[in-house]
Symmetry: C2
Subunit: 182 residues, 2 copies
């Protein structure tokens, strides 16, 4: 098993209970009641109703000053107090992927302030990004957030801010699952 | 089979005959006489002496003006005149991967002029980059070049220019294989 490759297995049992599942854009996913997030490999198959595979990679847009701030205040996943999670797989349009690196960076940061917005909610909202596009998965990214029940409103605020940005106009598939640790 | 995932299978038969194999940095690869470059998948195994897997992805550093120049003049792989190839797997150090995006970009372009140097040798030298790091392979990148025998000297010049850059000080494993189309 790898420490960078994870399977998110949706089914009828698992560590995280699904409280709500909403399709915001594009095709939905089959209904499930639980999700397991498990260390996996490229070849491993799984048995749930569906499995989404993602890989932890290096930061592809973050600049030095931002990276230092992130590292200084962000928290790891798995805090005992963080009994709530959100699992939000995303796909961006071909138009996005045809942009050059500086154009994507400009939209993410200068216009959409992606990192700055995320920083405001640290350390309360722990986040992890898993990459799926290059391995031929249905989504480009699997985003995972963990927080205490008392930070749920802050999390809603963070999502609201991100979804109204220019960057989000390039999102063409998005399914939002809210989870409770079992 | 995928159009973005490729296996480079080193063995005793295959489309490309190995003329020379040189280890420049780090561990060598087992000796082989031929390489096959085949459309593959994440789960496919292969039978050569060794197999290196790589994925075609989006350009991660190239800015708009550079990308437009590249697209305007670069040629695809597989030209009938391009009977020579070079297959050069590379790994970069942890120090490189711990840098932020803007620091890596600065070293690649402002200091090392990676794209500008490559552009000088287009369309003669066709190039393709395959990513391996995120899928847990031994190398970070598999680079593949194709050219006509008459452009061999130009190719040596390109490699010489790249290898003396600041960027190359971060390369900690490099094996250079020169190939002849069978």
């Amino acid at each position: 098993m790898s420490s960078t490759i994870f399977d998110f297995v949706g089914g009828t049992s698992g560590e995280w209970e699904v409280l709500k599942m909403t399709t915001l854009k594009g095709d939905s996913l089959s209904e499930i009641t639980h999700i397991d997030k498990i260390s996996s490999s490229l070849v491993r198959g799984n048995e749930g109703i569906w499995t989404l595979k993602g890989i932890i990679s290096n930061l592809r847009y973050t600049e030095k000053a931002e990276k230092e701030k992130l590292i200084a205040i962000q928290e790891d996943l798995g805090r005992p107090s963080a009994s709530r999670a959100a699992f939000i797989p995303l796909r961006k349009s071909d138009e996005w992927w045809n942009l050059a690196q500086d154009e994507r960076r400009k939209i993410m940061e200068e216009s959409s302030k992606h990192t700055q917005t995320g920083l405001k909610y640290l350390p309360a909202i722990a986040r992890k990004l898993f990459h799926s596009r290059d391995i031929g998965e249905a989504f480009d990214f699997l985003t995972w957030f963990e927080y205490a029940p008392s930070d749920e409103e802050a999390f809603e605020e963070l999502l609201y801010a991100l979804r109204k940005t220019e960057e989000w106009t390039y999102v063409d598939r998005e399914v939002d699952m809210r989870l409770l640790k079992g």
